[in-house]
Subunit: 439 residues, 2 copies
């Protein structure tokens, strides 16, 4: 391989010049081989952040990161992954993956753990005893080929450069960059063998993207990069101005997922899961139109095929299915406290990231990467944005331990101070899907 | 001290916001105590580079760096330092410091070693046997108080934050930033106790600043920062489109310095040294006008006072004065080779940084920080820009060792290929002083 100078590469990007494909590959190879220093990489990341990467450069960075580890490939085009930018109460993966798989899509899920206000898919599924998320990549590939779906945690084998780069970005204020986010997501999706991708880009107070304009930019960047790699893709901007569904908390979200897979879940969660699954079915080429894909998705849900597929996944990966058949066996607190409306009105808004932080306060999330998770604690919302409340109506129920009475008082105080706003006049219930963007 | 978050400080500067004085102090303190990581510092430096620092921020960074180590203070205002941005053949310090000292200015010289195409004051003076440049700071202060002048190498005691920051900038392409250069220079000058500063900002092919507009910006930034610290300052933009004086090489530059101190030196070097010394005398308040200061400087030179002061400095710092009294004792090569003009014409230009690199090829400079210097090798120019040459006239003489015959052939080849340009028509001799900028 040709030799490049890291100094000159930083200098070029600092001056706003375009880097070449070879330079991106050299940087990532050198990073993996420790031939460049972290302080050089962080300087380059800051120059990339401020001066940006164009579409070609974003694809080249993605390409270099994708080949930093192992890559999986599958026959055909029906391997389609969903990626969500993360939010509060987001358990849609547990519903859409079985729906899509039941319709013939192969769904590779490599998911993360929670940190700060956002929960993690891996944490939630681990509330089911026995479920293994650290399968070797060969087993992941076998499950995906044979069963159509597999769920594992982040692995060093897939795009390891992303992990190194992300830990640097995390402490150097270079996270919220559209091209860097794009390369991080796409390198992992392409390495895990996805032939298509459906993005769920959350917008609102509980999301990384606080406004539609930023969310649209990220969507366009992902769609464009997917196209450059000849992959089908669709992006939905979806509402994260309140928690998704009614339940927030690890085991409680598994319970709500099972309810939804039995077609007894909350409307927002059901609608979103169906829309994402239908797009996956369409991108996978299983059905020839979106309308037919949606019909298939609905059928998989109402027929019970999706629910049975979910049970299969749990079983295949070592989980105890009796906890799914009877979700009352899942970790639960003995105490609950109802938080009641101090006055009548309409719920105008909920500061969703604060709700995530309140869960963390109860032990249901992580403040630092090494914190242990309490699967049992959580919140169950009776009222959400647009709902009318009378004085004394229960807005939500806190599931907590006996020892946490003081914490609950704190949660209630912060909820009325920082999270909820009331309106005297009627408030529209927000639509879950804001916008769909296609290639 | 209040706690700040490095993440938030980087984030602010990344978004182009102004940092506070307290934040600059916290960053530098944390850097010194290793409470922040180098990769965070380099990300911040890149954000500072691209988004810039305003005048206030530049002064605050200077202030924080200046207090990262020891600070010297002197009674009165007559401690004035000169700083040159560095060039090829620049031995003016050896001439202006004795002139200014002979006129009653106290001149603290903390100088560097050469790297790449630029030579170092410390390397040059070390060609005099016995001369010590690693005096303790207490001895430096004593010499300066008693003798009016002292010359030492960079020390960890003075503005150590600069050394850490500079080594990061050096490998992350963040060197050529006006505010970062300003803080680097000014923190050291203020820490060493300078009450005034005279800047020699070189412009041209042998200089860091390749054009006047950049040089002027640096001058303005230095003058403004000095003013904020209530220090007098003057900046000269001077010509580095050809070597300063005729001799390039460590011992050879000491020889030319001695000639110039005897008022027998080349005109450009004499004029520049007198102008810088006169400005120092004026800034120090020794004389009430620049005209009077120049008169005093000329008198110190022609009377021999400056030369005697130079001998004193050498003696005081352990150097063998017999090498100054008889410069033929200094390291010298046995061989010389004259490089002759292949055609008649006028010398139009000299690519000065290339001349510095040719010296490095002969062993007279450093490619890497650990290289040893050969004091004896060098170049002696007979013809410079504007001079008329006939075919066969000697343009310069290479001083080299017997073993270096092949190197000399290379030097000659590169000189005619890359360094010199001829003109058929008359070329103006460039003025050494381009412009003077005052506060």
């Amino acid at each position: 391989m040709q030799y490049y100078s890291m100094y000159e590469i930083i200098d070029k990007k600092k001056n706003g010049q375009e880097l070449t494909k070879e330079e991106f590959h050299w940087v990532i190879d050198s990073l993996m081989n420790k031939n460049i220093h972290e302080y050089q990489m962080s300087a380059l990341l800051m120059a990339m952040f401020i001066n940006g990467l164009n579409k070609k450069e974003t694809a080249w960075l993605t390409d270099a990161m994708l080949y930093s580890g192992q890559t999986l490939t599958f026959e055909g085009q029906n391997v389609v992954d969903k990626h969500s930018t993360g939010g509060v109460g987001d358990k849609a993966s547990f519903i859409l993956a079985p729906i899509a798989a039941a319709c013939g899509v192969r769904v590779p899920m490599i998911a993360g753990r929670g940190l700060g206000h956002t929960g993690g898919t891996i944490d939630k599924v681990e509330s089911i005893p026995g479920f293994k998320t650290n399968l070797p990549l060969s087993e992941f590939k076998r499950l995906l080929t044979d069963k159509g779906v597999a769920l594992i945690g982040q692995t060093k084998e897939i795009a390891p450069a992303d992990k190194i780069i992300y830990s640097l970005r995390d402490v150097t204020a270079t996270v919220d960059s559209i091209p860097l986010i794009t390369a991080s997501i796409m390198s992992k999706k392409l390495a895990e063998g996805a032939n298509g991708i459906v993005m769920d880009i959350k917008v609102g107070s509980g999301a990384f993207m606080k406004n539609k304009s930023q969310a649209r930019k990220l969507a366009r960047s992902i769609l464009d990069t997917a196209k450059r790699f000849d992959r089908g893709a669709v992006a939905l901007l979806t509402n994260m101005a309140q928690p998704l569904g009614n339940k927030v908390g690890n085991a409680m979200e598994i319970i709500e997922s099972v309810q939804t897979l039995k077609n007894e879940g909350p409307k927002d969660l059901t609608d979103l899961s169906l829309a994402l699954a239908a797009n996956m079915i369409h991108v996978a080429g299983v059905e020839s139109s979106y309308a037919k894909s949606m019909k298939a998705a609905k059928k998989a849900l109402t027929s019970g095929d999706a629910y049975r597929c979910f049970e299969d996944i749990i079983k295949e990966q070592g989980g105890d299915v009796s906890y799914i058949k009877d979700t009352s066996k899942l970790p639960a607190t003995k105490e609950t406290t109802e938080i009641k409306a101090p006055k009548a009105g309409y719920i105008k808004s909920l500061k969703t990231d604060e709700i995530g932080l309140l869960l963390t306060e109860l032990g249901g999330g992580r403040k630092t990467k090494t914190d242990k998770i309490d699967f049992a604690v959580g919140f169950d919302f009776n009222k959400k944005v647009g709902d009318k409340v009378k004085e004394g109506d229960t807005i939500f129920t806190v599931h907590h331990h006996k020892s946490q009475v003081d914490k609950v008082t704190q949660v209630e105080g912060r909820f009325f101070k920082d999270v909820v706003k009331f309106s005297k006049t009627k408030v529209e219930r927000p639509a879950i899907i804001i916008e769909k963007l296609e290639q």
